[in-house]
């Protein structure tokens, strides 16, 4: 049986990718943020997972409003990145994994989830920045990636409780897959931030830290929030917590937090990072 060895939460904002491209990791602005990642990279290097399931949202590269999935599951052999319009460098293609992807698709449909199933999609910074963070120098091509995209851009958006249940269904699907692959899950984005309106710039560091605590010990508590609650408490884009909840849903075992970092502001956000072991 394939095994989910752990989960990683991380910010995915474009500014991170741009900072890495420019070699700014050790500047005053970025030092504390990047200081969180070497232990996670070491863990990945020790564990050598075969597959990463990455929960991300598409910020307007592939999933346009014409035909916008609530949940989208990648089943492609490869994923290209592309120009997003405001200057982040594109990264080399990401390797896909079709067999486990299709198995997850079958199990999701069997258990009354309704994902859009994708054999050819471009992935944006929501997925590529975390990969670049975990594998600097774009050394991620040995890793097979399954992108899972959650609508965080247009209301109605899937509820936190639904995203958590979606993650649980994916976790169970992985555990029922006939293989011995080691799988890691990434929950990307967040935490509190608001990009739009006169309320732009709002950050709630207390809430972010509470979310990180609860994500370890009591994720169900977070599923009680509505998306409107998240917007009120954490800003309009705090709904990206849904990707963290989906990741956490995948971890069906006993969860132990072995690393955490939190820095705010990074760009306009509270930037959290956690490494959770699934025992």
């Amino acid at each position: 049986m394939a095994k989910i060895i752990g989960g990683i939460t991380t910010s995915h904002i474009p500014a991170i990718g741009i900072a890495m491209d420019r070699g700014l990791e050790d500047t005053d602005y970025w030092r504390d943020f990047f200081a969180g990642y070497p232990p996670v990279r070491e863990w990945l290097n020790e564990q050598q997972p075969d597959i990463a399931i990455v929960f991300y949202n598409d910020h307007g590269l592939e999933m346009f409003l014409d035909k916008k999935p609530t949940f989208a599951l990648g089943c492609a052999p490869q994923y290209e990145n592309a120009d997003e319009g405001w200057g982040i460098a594109t990264i080399p293609p990401v390797t896909g994994e079709t067999e486990l992807s299709w198995h997850i698709a079958n199990e999701l449909i069997e258990h009354d989830f309704d994902p859009t199933i994708c054999q050819d999609i471009k992935v944006d910074h929501g997925l590529t920045v975390p990969l670049s963070l975990m594998y600097p120098g774009h050394k991620y091509q040995h890793l097979k990636v399954i992108p899972v995209c959650i609508n965080c851009e247009r209301h109605p958006m899937p509820k936190p409780s639904r995203c958590y249940a979606f993650g649980q269904a994916i976790g169970r699907a992985v555990e029922s897959f006939a293989g011995d692959q080691k799988v890691v899950v990434f929950g990307t984005g967040g935490l509190s931030h608001q990009l739009d309106g006169e309320r732009a710039g709002f950050i709630n560091a207390d809430f972010d830290n509470e979310c990180m605590d609860k994500l370890v010990s009591d994720p169900q508590a977070l599923t009680k929030y509505s998306n409107d609650d998240l917007i009120e408490i954490g800003g309009a884009q705090a709904v990206e917590l849904n990707m963290w909840l989906a990741m956490r849903g995948c971890l069906l075992g006993k969860v132990r937090e072995v690393r955490r970092n939190y820095v705010a502001p990074i760009s306009n956000t509270g930037a959290g990072m956690q490494l959770l072991i699934n025992e």
């Binding site: 504390d32 910020h59 247009r154 209301h155 732009a200 409107d228 309009a236 820095v263 705010a264 306009n268």
Partner: protein, 121 residues
């Protein structure tokens, strides 16, 4: 308890269905700014490019004036407007300043005022 029971949050423009209907042409135009061709075509003749996507007069005026708040009110999604801001050479702090009536430096200071966990920042 339905999701259509809206919470009004001051200074926040919820991009929901009716807003997405209203802003469709505007967002479709901004979606083309993913490509260099789209960006160049816009820069070559801004008004004509707006017309090509059927922008309303209010949307077109807000584009030409770089009026982000009006664009949100007219159905713009911040994610597509970010691609418009990219053309203008504005980053998310610049856009934050424009929306809140602050300079970019003031906006960054506001962000910092809510900060945590930076020892060297």
């Amino acid at each position: 308890m339905s999701s259509s029971d809206k919470k009004e949050i001051p200074g926040t423009y919820k991009f929901d269905g009716p807003m997405a209907t209203k802003g469709y042409g505007l967002n479709k135009m901004c979606f083309t700014f993913n490509s260099a061709e789209g960006r160049e075509a816009f820069k070559a003749d801004e008004a004509a490019y707006c017309d090509k996507f059927g922008l309303t007069p209010a949307q077109k005026e807000a584009v030409l004036k770089r009026d982000i708040i009006s664009l949100l009110r007219e159905g713009g999604s911040i994610y597509y407007l970010a691609k418009f801001a990219g053309i203008l050479g504005l980053n998310v702090q610049d856009v934050g300043g424009l929306q809140t009536g602050m300079t970019t430096e003031e906006f960054k200071a506001y962000l910092d005022s809510q900060g945590r966990g930076k020892h060297n920042g």
